[in-house]
Symmetry: C2
Subunit: 500 residues, 2 copies
Amino acid sequence: MQLEVRNYDLDTSEPTVLLHEDDCRILSVSEGDRVRIAGTSAAIAIVSVSDTLVRKGTVLIPPSVQKAAGASVGEMAEVTLSHTPESVRHIRSKMDGRHLSPEAITQLVDDVVAGRLSRIETSAWLTALYIKGMDTDEIAAYAKAMAETGDEISFNDKQVLDFHSFGGLPGNKITPIVVSIVAAAGLTVPKLSSRAISSACGTADFVETFCRVDLDTHEIRRIADEVGGVFSWTGATDLGPAGDRFITVQRPLGIDPRPQLLASIMSKKVAAGATDLVMDIPMGTESKVPTLEMARSYARDLMELGDKLGIRVECVITYAEQPLGEAVGPVLEARECMEVLERRPGHDDVADKACICAGAMLGIAGFPDGTAKAREILASGRALEKFKEIVEAQCGDPCISSADMVPGPFSEEIRADRSGFVRHLSNKAVVAVAKAAGAPSDKGAGIVLGKKLGSKVSKGDVLMTIYAEREDKLLHAVKTATEAEPIRVEGMVIGRVGPE
Amino acid sequence: MQLEVRNYDLDTSEPTVLLHEDDCRILSVSEGDRVRIAGTSAAIAIVSVSDTLVRKGTVLIPPSVQKAAGASVGEMAEVTLSHTPESVRHIRSKMDGRHLSPEAITQLVDDVVAGRLSRIETSAWLTALYIKGMDTDEIAAYAKAMAETGDEISFNDKQVLDFHSFGGLPGNKITPIVVSIVAAAGLTVPKLSSRAISSACGTADFVETFCRVDLDTHEIRRIADEVGGVFSWTGATDLGPAGDRFITVQRPLGIDPRPQLLASIMSKKVAAGATDLVMDIPMGTESKVPTLEMARSYARDLMELGDKLGIRVECVITYAEQPLGEAVGPVLEARECMEVLERRPGHDDVADKACICAGAMLGIAGFPDGTAKAREILASGRALEKFKEIVEAQCGDPCISSADMVPGPFSEEIRADRSGFVRHLSNKAVVAVAKAAGAPSDKGAGIVLGKKLGSKVSKGDVLMTIYAEREDKLLHAVKTATEAEPIRVEGMVIGRVGPE
């Protein structure tokens, strides 16, 4: 049916057009159905029905859909009922627990990336994935489809080493250290990282405090060729874009279905041209991976996936009962990361973990004792040198040092109200306090732990220092710390049981 | 944070407000999070982020949210991050297959009806329900919660008979006949029906062609007291409103989770004050209920539910391999319905089924041979008399007759291209053709079958006649009929197998 095009001043995540209910009746469409809008080209959009916002005989189309459909304001466009995408049938199949073919999975990913699936449909897909799962063949097809729907970087026949951490560990600031060590050994390691999704600081959030992270795929390729290492942000590229589209639906639901997690990670590695991958699986009570059994299970799945996708995968299961190092928050983590590279005392756990992960990568590349080699590269200062080369290539100041990383001006120390030992340190509560302080959007916000698990504490000792860029947020964070109690100090006596 | 209120010219199904991305960063909110808007009162809304449509320092709020929050355009409102509703945790519980308490279920239904759950969350809930299901206690709690969130009709201590058909049977036009028979026997039968969801014609769609169906609960109560029977539209009342909110999410997904179906039906019966209920379960290959086993299973669940909800339930499993009667489509079904009441020849299956269902209700009310009594009431003309009383009470013409029901002016006969017998008659294809012709939005559109399953056919006989109000739709329906082949005529020979 021919309708006059009017502008719809709203671009939502699902292409939506507004139709008058009388026109809907003639077209036999209802709220939520799809229509095909044909101007000089054609586009599919979801229908929203109104009898107040749109006049009969007209269709309100947002700019993005106007463009896709070649439809101009004031002109006529042909609007017809369109069928539900095939993918919806595949979503129902997965709800019924059926195995999906690579073709079905590819079709679904295509539809998601092209914005053809609505939020309702995407939510149903993720829920079905969460409940029903996927076998490794399906996950591999899923990862491949996600990689193919975006950009891909090719390094020809070079060995490309990659590294990835499962997340869920506050203060996991090792990426620039690992990349610098491995690149210093002469290897190619283009590492892309994400921003925080629900944590207080993602790698991209803290690296951004001292150099550019918004590199496109050409710059990544060039810098990797020039200096060997890159630490940039996935979001500035179009590698595996589907994963990000899913995140806007996952977040409200608070779920991360296993197939989604695995496919999303592997899709980015496939797209980034990795040939060898070291996966860090942080294991801890409050993390995504609370038991060794689950960690091994993920590790096996990842290795099997790597096998099907042509990437050699090695997994390292690491300690995650408490934050890594002392700092949580962008500037603070950048500072601590540099302190390790500068070989300043303290932060042994950060240095250790970085050398173990880098060591695994060096081992894959043929070095007999990878961890020892990594420690050597770090201790010699070559890692710091390479770090500065990469920072410079990424438009940062090559003379940057930890002293340049200054946190927010508002701070408060949380002190122990008793003597004893640190018996409990909650990752979740630490993240809550850091976020309350403004991390990661306020770069200078975050916390620095004064004590770690097992530390001896005297009454009055500083348990943690909170930093913020705004006073109201500092107060909010202090309140959160009082309520959430991230660090609990106890003496030797846990309880007493005696006659009433 | 204080922001200036501006008008958001869009009312979607989920209360949404538009914020500038800089303000979002300060508030620590992202796309899809919730905020609390406080003017003179307070409301929760979902955040949409933009840096083009909204200016920093302002918040765009749709009229409905302005009202709920007591926020006026041009004034300031306090905007703060709000937590995800508790219900989302319950949704995750159901995803994990856990039993939900009545309190949790009530909280979820409250949130859905108040519009506090987003489409993403509602979709996840329905998908989880579809996959994981509910036990009868949960379904009863679900039904009770749905009834309590809307209007309820009370008939004090009177016996209130109700009737409901599971759906999925084209041409199931018996409701006015059943209601008229039972009301003629002196009983109270306030029957509310829905419009078509995915079929070619719902009861409300065809009843609307000869009287009002948009009765509110007061009118329903009054008319039921005055004449005994009512056949109106659920959508004009606020009985069990949650069910309808779910439908806008279910439709695109094409699922009808069992707990949802059962709870939705029972919630409306509870809300309508029913004491006794006869459930018609149409059973057929292409229906919702393809096997006797499944039909019995639904019947058992319904009786158990009725038990927990204080409604006596009796189920009748009925034949649904082909459409009931010959007519499918609003005016055409109204005509056939009246022809049965007028005791015109033909349509025996419609009369039979109506008498069996009415008979079951009369049986519950104490009549020894319900079906025989029902046939007597129909044959004597008392059902027709009562029908006209009800029509008049519902503002229709009491002199209405089948001759007044005139279908669309465009029609085409589909003739048999061979002799034989009707071996296949597809309900789905019949519905597709009727909808292509314009049913149910075009009242005069639909089809009339010339032959039924098992009928002897000579070449050239009329298999079906298609009616439409618009010529383009008639052509579309004829094309659909050619492609979908709703009626297949075959001879005695099905195939031959011989030497190659």
